[in-house]
Symmetry: C2
Subunit: 216 residues, 2 copies
Amino acid sequence: MSVDTAEPSEFSPRQNAVLEQALQLLVDGGEKALTTSGVARAANCSKESLYKWFGDRDGLLSAMIAYQASKVRTFERNGERLTAASLHDHVVIFARDLLEVLAGDVSLALNRLAIGQSNRDGSKLGKLLLERGRRQIDRRAMALIDAGKRAGLLRFADADEAYHTLYGLVVSDLHVRMLLGEPGLKDTARQAERAVTAFLRLYGTDKVLAEMPVLG
Amino acid sequence: MSVDTAEPSEFSPRQNAVLEQALQLLVDGGEKALTTSGVARAANCSKESLYKWFGDRDGLLSAMIAYQASKVRTFERNGERLTAASLHDHVVIFARDLLEVLAGDVSLALNRLAIGQSNRDGSKLGKLLLERGRRQIDRRAMALIDAGKRAGLLRFADADEAYHTLYGLVVSDLHVRMLLGEPGLKDTARQAERAVTAFLRLYGTDKVLAEMPVLG
DNA sequence: CACGAACCGTACCGTACGGTACGTATATGG
DNA sequence: CCATATACGTACCGTACGGTACGGTTCGTG
């Protein structure tokens, strides 16, 4: 395992603490609760400092997204020959992690925030969220899928297409439902297992299919 | 074909016109632009009437969702024996319609609105949107899937599970991406075709699989 | 025609937010 | 010990919104 090189955290420790408080405020009360005065009060700092550090309110929101993204680091595997069983397990773990990340309250709060602003500011926050928040998980999945192909376990022409298929199978409409306020999934393990089974049935080579239960 | 019985439109024609203007305002400028004064001005009505008709701002938002849902009517087929080819075609049409609905600017604007409010008001708008906006399309898909099963073309234990699989294959993360402001899909027809192919490969009986191209 | 209901347009009120200014405290460096 | 920088806390300003009140107008009805 190797961890991604964490860039030297574009913000000072004090600023990180403030951003942490701001995230907490956002999670608890939604965007309405995220006022500059409220952040200053919760973080015991002055509004003047907020504006000095982040420019304006939008700058603060962007900084919150960047900060949260900098906290989430995903591990990538290296070497380690894949078998049909281990590929299955790794994809299941990926699927579970994906569902867990999407269901996290900070993730949901930030997505709600960005979506709420997205037809006003030219989707600046939305872009930021997609680029900073999704890149890690995309890379991890692509690496896994590519490794499966190199090991002769998966077969596809377009890796991106295969990945999006996997994503859809795992997430379905759960993300939007959660964003709309529906309580989270009851059994994420089962959902992940089902999705991976379908994915392997679609993209697995004979080597993989031979080890899968007959359907029906 | 039979059209759903349209309930006598809980709002007066004048109120419908006002709601139409409000939707237009929301689409153009996002939630920030949807002020009570703005709606009154755009619709040439008084704020007093707005409050008389809809109670308060939240009531107006709810009414907008209800009104939009009442406009969308989906057709359900009846009778008409399904073949492998016609099932495929109908599912593709469903997939295309689904993508088209989700990509519609009014749909996106309302979803953004409901999502933006969803961690404040106990997701009242989110519930409303899911119940009033999704029921139609869910019913249509379930009817189609059930018909496929009765015709011996599809095989599954849980129809709901099969439907969610289809949904995920068709939509993947497109809905969230569009909500975040990413420009819409280039080739919805291709996306729909891919999804349906995968769906039939997963849930089709031999009768269906026999007519499908060998993969990869 | 007269009466009343519904409605429009506008003016108004209280509040709360984003952003700025200022006085004070703490700390760092010479 | 002083000087400078950084940041805290508070007070302040302008604006804009949700919601209410009121005078004038239209329109249906007896």
